[in-house]
C-alpha cells in the first residue's frame, strides 16, 4: 500500500510527529543516572532506530498503518529505558549482578540492562529480539542488523520489591533463563536421556483416548511436551540461581512462595507452543534446591557460630523445622485458561502422571546440576557461615553488615551474597518470631534492616573498588619512586 493516498499520507505524518516526540523523550534521559553503561547503549540504539524510522517512508515505502502501529509499540521499550535509571533501581545491586553477568557471558556480545517493572514480578526478555520484531515489518533485515549489532537483554525488577532487598536473589534465576538458552541443546540432550518412559506413557494415554481426531491427539501431545520443557527451564534457572547465590536463592524463593498454594504446578496454554509457560510447585522446587544449595549443612555450621555469638535467642537459623514444607499435600497441576479445550484433558493426564513426572525431573535436576557446575565454575558462590554470623551480629546491633571484623580498622569488606544472606536470615527470623502485639516493633525493625542492608551494599562496593585502586596506585608509586 502506497503512502501517496491522502489517508496514508496523514497517518505517516502523524507517525513521524510521534517519532519526533519519542526521540525528544529519549534524549532528555540523563545518561549520568544510568547504573551501568548498557543502559546508555540501549539509549543510543533507540535513537539510531528512531532516526532510521524517520527515513523509512522515503526509503522503504512501508504500509502507513503498520508504520504507525510499530511506532506506537516502540514506546514500550522507551518506558523500559526510562525506568532503568538510578531513580528506579539500586545501583550497587545492579552493578553486582552486572559483574556476574559479565563473568557468565565473558567475551560474548551479550549484555543486559536493568529496568524496573510495573508488575510485581521479575522477568527477563531479549530486548534486541523484541526490537527486531517491531522493526521487521518496516525496515529490511540487513538494515536492522546494522543498527542492532549486539544481543541485549532487559532484566525487569519487581516494582514493589525495590526496597525488599532479599528478594533481589531472584535476579539470579532470571539469568538462569539466559544460561538455559545458551546451553539449550546440551540441556535438551540431558532431558531426553531421562524422559523417554514418561513421554511414551503420556503418548499412549493420549492415543488410547477413543473418538479423538488424530490432529487433536498430536496437538495435545505437543502441548504437553511444551509444558514439560517449561518445567525443566524453570528447574534449570533455579539451579543457576542456587549456584550463583547459594542459600540466598532458596530463601528468596521461599519468601516468594508465601501466599501461594505450594503444592500446585501451573501450565498456561497458548495457541503458539513456544509461548506456553509452566511452573513446578514451590514445594518441589524448594526441596530440590535444598540439596543443591547444601542448605542443611550450611545452616548447621551457621548455627554453631550463632550459638558462639550468643545470638540464639534473637536469630533462628532456618533449619528443617523452620522451613518445613507441606510435602505431604498431594501435588496437582492447574492448567489454564479454562476456555482452551485441551486444558481439562491435559490436566487429567498430567495429574495421573504427576509422580512419574516428579521422578524424571528429580533425575534431571541432579544431572543438569553436575553439567552446570562445570560450566559455571568461576561464578559459583562460596559463602562462609562464620562471616554470616558476624554480619547478623552487626544487624542486631543496628549497624550495617558491611564488613567482617579482622582486627584492623578497615575490616574485610563483606561480599554481596554474604550481606544479602545475613539480611535474609535475620529478617526471616524476626518474621517467624513476630506476634500480633509486637507487629509495629517488628515492622520498624524490618525497615531498619532494609536500610542498613542497602547502606552495606553501597559502602562495601565502594570500599572494594577503593582498595583495588589503592593497590594499583601503591604499585605504580612503588615502581616510579
Amino acid at each position: 500500500m502506497s503512502n501517496s493516498t491522502p489517508n496514508g499520507s496523514a497517518i505517516i505524518t502523524k507517525a513521524l510527529l510521534l517519532l519526533q516526540k519519542i526521540k525528544q523523550r529519549i534524549l532528555q534521559i540523563d545518561d549520568t543516572q544510568f547504573p551501568t553503561e548498557f543502559s546508555s547503549t540501549v539509549k543510543n540504539i533507540l535513537v539510531n532506530v528512531l532516526d532510521n524510522l524517520s527515513e523509512a517512508p522515503k526509503k522503504w515505502d512501508p504500509s502507513p498503518t503498520a508504520f504507525h502501529r510499530q511506532v506506537l509499540q516502540i514506546q514500550e521499550l522507551v518506558n523500559h529505558l526510562e525506568r532503568s535509571s538510578n531513580d528506579y533501581v539500586l545501583w550497587p545491586v545492579v552493578n553486582y549482578f552486572n559483574s556476574i553477568w559479565l563473568e557468565l557471558f565473558e567475551g560474548g556480545r551479550v549484555h543486559v540492562f536493568f529496568s524496573q517493572s510495573t508488575q510485581h514480578n521479575y522477568s527477563i526478555y531479549n530486548f534486541s529480539d523484541k526490537l527486531f520484531r517491531k522493526l521487521n515489518p518496516i525496515i529490511p533485515e540487513a538494515e536492522i542488523q546494522k543498527i542492532i549489532d549486539s544481543e541485549i537483554y532487559c532484566l525487569q525488577l519487581a516494582s514493589l520489591e525495590e526496597d525488599n532487598i532479599p528478594l533481589y536473589a531472584n535476579v539470579a534465576h532470571e539469568f538462569g533463563h539466559v544460561v538455559y538458552n545458551r546451553y539449550q541443546s546440551d540441556i535438551a540432550d540431558i532431558w531426553s536421556g531421562l524422559n523417554k518412559k514418561i513421554l511414551e506413557d503420556i503418548k499412549n494415554e493420549i492415543e488410547n483416548e477413543k473418538n479423538l481426531q488424530p490432529q487433536i491427539k498430536a496437538r495435545r501431545n505437543k502441548k504437553i511436551l511444551a509444558i514439560l520443557t517449561g518445567f525443566i527451564k524453570e528447574i534449570t534457572s533455579d539451579i543457576v540461581g542456587a549456584l550463583l547465590l547459594g542459600p540466598n536463592f532458596f530463601l528468596s524463593l521461599y519468601e516468594m512462595s508465601w501466599g501461594f498454594n505450594n503444592s500446585n504446578w501451573y501450565a498456561i496454554l497458548t495457541p503458539a507452543l513456544q509461548l506456553i509457560k509452566s511452573y513446578p510447585s514451590f514445594n518441589f522446587r524448594l526441596e530440590g534446591l535444598r540439596k543443591i544449595a547444601h542448605l542443611d549443612e550450611f545452616c548447621s555450621e551457621l548455627n554453631a557460630y550463632i550459638v558462639k555469638h550468643d545470638l540464639s535467642t534473637i536469630c533462628k537459623v532456618p533449619d528443617k523445622n523452620f522451613l518445613s514444607l507441606a510435602l505431604s499435600k498431594k501435588d496437582e497441576i492447574i492448567v489454564s485458561p479454562e476456555s482452551d479445550s485441551d486444558s481439562v484433558p491435559i490436566k487429567k493426564i498430567l495429574d495421573n502422571k504427576m509422580e512419574d513426572i516428579k521422578v524424571s525431573i528429580k533425575n534431571f535436576q541432579s544431572s543438569v546440576s553436575d553439567f552446570l557446575i562445570k560450566k559455571l565454575s568461576k561464578s559459583i558462590s562460596n559463602i562462609d557461615p562464620s562471616d554470616i554470623s558476624e554480619l547478623i551480629l552487626r544487624l542486631h546491633q543496628r549497624i550495617p553488615p558491611n564488613i567482617i571484623p579482622n582486627g584492623s580498622v578497615f575490616g574485610k569488606p563483606a561480599e554481596f551474597p554474604s550481606i544479602l544472606l545475613a539480611a535474609s536470615i535475620y529478617r526471616l527470623s524476626l518474621l517467624s518470631n513476630n506476634n500480633l502485639t509486637q507487629q509495629m516493633d517488628t515492622i520498624n525493625e524490618l525497615d531498619r534492616i532494609e536500610r542498613l542492608t542497602g547502606k552495606a551494599f553501597e559502602v562495601s562496593y565502594i570500599q572494594k573498588e577503593f582498595k583495588e585502586w589503592k593497590k594499583v596506585e601503591r604499585n605504580f608509586n612503588g615502581n616510579t619512586s
Binding site: P400, N402, V409, G411, G454, V459, S460
Partner: protein, 208 residues
C-alpha cells in the same frame, strides 16, 4: 570531658563488645584517622530544597511543616564519580558515607575541614552527635562563596571530633528523632514530645 586522641580512638574502635565500641565504618584510608579526629566523606544521598511552592517555613505550625516536607525538598541519589554543583548561597542536605555508632560514654561533634571552609563551603551547622547515636550523619552543606563548588560523593568533607562523657552520666540509649538513618534526612519537627511546646509560641487569637 576531654577530646579523644588517636590512640584512644583506635582503642575504642578496636573494642570487641559492640556496646563499648566506637564505630565509624567504613574507613577507606589510614589517613582518615588524624591526631584527634576522623575525616568523614560525602555520601550519595542528597536533598535539594526547591524554591517554589512554600511561602515560609514556620516551624510552629505542624500543617506548614508537613507541606514543607512534601513540597519543598527533592531527594536525589548520586552515582559515584558524578559531579554535583553547589551554587553560591545554595543549601543542600547531604549525608556521610560513613555510618557512626557512639557508645554511651562518647559524644561527638562534626566540623568542617578547613580546606573546604576556605573555599566557602560550610559543612555542618547542627554539629552535635549525642552519645548512643547510630546512623549516617546528615550534613547541611552551604556554599557561602561567590563561585559554584563541584562536589563528588566520596570526597572527605568533614571531621568528627570525639569527647568522653563522665561515667556518671546517663547510660540511656539515644532516644532522639532519628532512627539509624542511612540517607540524608528531612527536618523532623513535631516528632518528639518537646516539640509540642511550639504551639505556646504561636500567635493566639487573644493577645497576651
Amino acid at each position: 570531658m576531654g577530646i579523644l586522641h588517636k590512640n584512644t580512638i583506635l582503642e575504642r574502635m578496636g573494642e570487641t563488645k559492640y556496646q563499648k565500641k566506637l564505630l565509624v565504618t567504613p574507613i577507606l584510608d589510614d589517613d582518615q584517622i588524624g591526631p584527634a579526629s576522623i575525616d568523614v566523606r560525602l555520601g550519595s544521598s542528597i536533598i535539594v530544597p526547591k524554591r517554589t511552592y512554600v511561602g515560609s517555613q514556620d516551624v510552629t505550625d505542624p500543617e506548614i511543616i508537613s507541606q514543607v516536607e512534601r513540597r519543598l525538598y527533592e531527594k536525589i541519589k548520586l552515582k559515584y564519580r558524578t559531579p554535583f554543583i553547589l551554587h553560591p548561597s545554595q543549601l543542600i542536605l547531604g549525608v556521610t558515607f560513613e555510618y557512626i555508632s557512639l557508645p554511651f560514654d562518647i559524644f561527638a561533634s562534626i566540623v568542617s575541614r578547613s580546606s573546604w571552609g576556605r573555599l566557602g563551603l560550610v559543612v555542618a551547622t547542627a554539629s552535635v552527635v549525642q552519645p548512643g547515636f547510630k546512623g549516617a550523619l546528615t550534613l547541611e552543606l552551604c556554599n557561602m562563596s561567590e563561585s559554584p563548588i563541584t562536589l563528588y560523593p566520596g570526597l572527605t568533607i568533614g571531621q568528627l571530633v570525639f569527647y568522653d562523657v563522665p561515667s556518671k552520666a546517663s547510660k540511656e540509649m539515644y532516644k532522639g528523632r532519628y532512627d539509624c538513618p542511612t540517607e540524608a534526612g528531612l527536618p523532623q519537627f513535631f516528632k518528639t514530645k518537646s516539640d509540642n511546646e511550639m504551639s505556646f509560641w504561636r500567635p493566639r487569637n487573644e493577645g497576651i
